[in-house]
């Protein structure tokens, strides 16, 4: 009798433990794992000590970061170029710049999953001015020796005002049309900011 009681106690304990354990295997997962822009992609985009994309000065190449600030828009706008590169192409700026096979795999997967930013959204409120809001964005995401200010038109305030309809077309399509150069992928943050600036009369 004593033996039976002990056996039952052991079995009951095991059952209780199993039912309450961390292996709740009947549950579905909440979501499929995604490549993280911040954790996986950013370290690739800002790596390489002398890399021209993270020196905070858009004199040689379009900027992807400066210090701790990541320019998601600048990277997103070049998804098409990145996609070509990781699928057999080369670095758009030539040279010996090359992703490792692991980095290519990460970038490829990130693009396939929608090239999203997991770093949070943006808030656009108050008066939006060219000097305070538009110029910093333009400087960090549009300027470069092979982009605006280099091989393409430099967009100062008056030019940007004159190109209002072009900007509107670009924002209406998130960069898919309207841009004289290659097709862009503008983030919702950028679109929101430019639309609000235009709506406010493009204040300087």
């Amino acid at each position: 009798m004593k033996k039976l009681i002990i056996t039952m106690a052991v079995i009951t304990s095991m059952l209780a433990y199993l039912m309450s354990s961390c292996y709740k295997n009947k549950e579905d997962i909440q979501a499929l794992p995604q490549v993280s822009f911040r954790a996986d992609v950013v370290p690739i985009m800002v790596a390489g000590g002398c890399g021209c994309h993270n020196n905070g000065i858009a004199t040689r190449a379009v900027q992807f970061s400066h210090a701790d600030t990541i320019y998601y828009d600048a990277i997103l706008a070049r998804v098409g170029l990145l996609d070509s590169w990781v699928n057999g192409g080369t670095h758009p700026g030539a040279g010996s710049v090359e992703f490792t096979s692991t980095q290519k795999n990460i970038v490829k997967t990130w693009i396939a999953q929608g090239a999203k930013d997991d770093g949070g959204g943006c808030t656009v409120n108050g008066t939006i001015t060219y000097i305070t809001n538009i110029l910093p964005l333009y400087t960090t995401t549009c300027k470069g020796s092979t982009c605006h200010g280099g091989i393409a038109l430099n967009l100062d305030y008056s030019t940007m005002v004159n190109k209002k309809s072009v900007l509107q077309a670009m924002m209406a399509s998130s960069g898919n049309s309207g841009h004289t150069g290659p097709v862009l992928s503008l983030s919702s943050c950028t679109v929101k900011l430019f639309n609000e600036w235009i709506a406010q009369g493009q204040p300087q």
């Binding site: 794992p33 954790a39 002398c50 992703f99």
Partner: protein, 396 residues
């Protein structure tokens, strides 16, 4: 009919219930999980620096390791701690422990990821064996899997060595410094090509760049040789002449590299290419400041060509390490005279190397037997690198 004791019946009932519960518990199901793919699609990638510990101090560090003496990258131990050794799992009540190198090595076959239990747990698509448990919604990222994969593949060592430092450092330099308008073949060989070494060029051989200074508005037009085959032809010929000349500067005087990077000939020099391991070694052994001195070193009496190449390749006041590490002073290897201030302009002036990247490059530099001893420790181990803080001279 035989009478079954009540307690016996209850025991059998509970046992069956336990077994059923176990089986049911082990069934992963759901609309999302059916699309989960945990397999690793990458491959061995030695350029991914993978170390067991988060921090490793370079062998030549200052008395108290300085800021550029600690190699710090995301590590295997950190990843295992985050995903496995949490306080409610293998870092707490659940065995086995996944804490120390010894603990983890029980599940690793060095050099063979596919034969390692650790690798199987984190990549298997048999969800019943998966770790972390798939329904914990805590899957390892591709980056983390690649770190573990390469660490095992590279030998699963407790501390990294040259085989870990070199590919990562070369990737860092070649990819970070070798863009089209920096330390690239195109910047160095374009002038040579224009000087006629390749014969007539077509527009297909070159790329055009326009730069407008954002402050002054001044426009500069760049034209670079971009045909890879022609770039290699010119650059290989240049490197050969450098190697031959310095092998014996008297006997091989005719191989003295003739620098003509622009027309008319100018002392102004372009950046030395750092496109490959060989380029980097050349740049260390014969620094660009020696290969293309700022003043005329020799004038050919017949051709009147002026050469900017210094015959004494050790008479240098700048080298790769001194240009990236601000904690060190360089002594001219020929004269033994130390600089009075650090350079490190490549660490801060053009995008910047991070401290842990500088440390990685240093670890490789002093471990690599292909870098001549004189460029590490000077002549007769007198030393050429001195820490500013303590005055410690790096010696063999």
């Amino acid at each position: 009919m035989k009478k079954i004791p009540l307690m016996y019946a209850i025991t059998v009932f509970l046992t069956v219930m336990l077994m059923s519960a176990s089986l049911l518990q082990c069934t992963k199901e759901g609309d999302i999980i059916k699309n989960l793919d945990r397999s690793y699609t990458g491959s061995s990638d030695s350029a991914v620096y993978s170390s067991f510990y988060e921090e490793n101090t370079v062998a030549t560090a200052d008395v108290v390791p300085d800021v550029n003496d600690v190699i710090k990258f995301r590590s295997v131990q950190t990843i295992v701690h985050e995903y496995c050794a949490t306080s409610n799992c293998h870092g707490g009540p659940i065995a086995p422990k996944f804490d120390s190198y010894t603990d983890i090595m029980k599940y690793v076959t060095a050099g063979n990821p596919d034969g390692s239990k650790l690798w199987e747990y984190i990549t298997t698509n048999n969800f019943n064996n998966a770790m972390p448990p798939v329904n914990s919604n805590h899957e390892l990222t591709i980056t983390d899997k690649s770190i573990i994969y390469n660490w095992i593949k590279n030998g699963a060592k407790e501390r990294p060595d040259l085989n870990d430092f070199r590919p990562a450092a070369v990737q860092l330099i070649a990819s970070g410094c070798g863009s089209a308008n920096c330390h690239n073949q195109a910047t160095a060989t374009g002038g040579w090509a224009r000087a006629g070494l390749l014969g007539p060029l077509t527009t297909a051989d070159t790329s055009q760049y326009i730069y407008i200074n954002p402050i002054t508005g001044a426009q500069t037009n760049y034209c670079q040789l971009s045909n890879p085959a022609k770039l290699n032809t010119v650059w290989t010929a240049y490197k050969d002449s450098v190697k031959k000349f310095y092998a014996d500067v008297i006997a091989n005087a005719s191989f003295r590299p003739w620098k003509k990077f622009s027309s008319p000939r100018s002392a102004a020099s372009t950046r030395g290419p750092l496109n490959s391991y060989d380029d980097i070694i050349i740049d260390i052994m014969y620094p660009k400041s020696i290969r293309s001195s700022g003043s005329v070193q020799y004038t050919d009496p017949i051709t009147t060509y002026t050469y900017y190449v210094n015959s004494n390749f050790l008479n240098a006041t700048s080298t790769l390490i001194s240009r990236i590490d601000s904690t060190l002073l360089l002594a001219n290897p020929s004269t033994g005279v130390y600089a009075t201030s650090p350079q490190a302009d490549m660490a801060y002036g053009d995008g910047g190397l991070k401290s842990h990247e500088i440390a990685l490059i240093k670890a490789w530099y002093f471990a690599d037997p292909n870098i001549p001893t004189v460029w590490k420790y000077g002549n007769a181990n007198a030393g050429i690198f001195k820490y500013i803080k303590t005055g410690k001279i790096i010696k063999q």
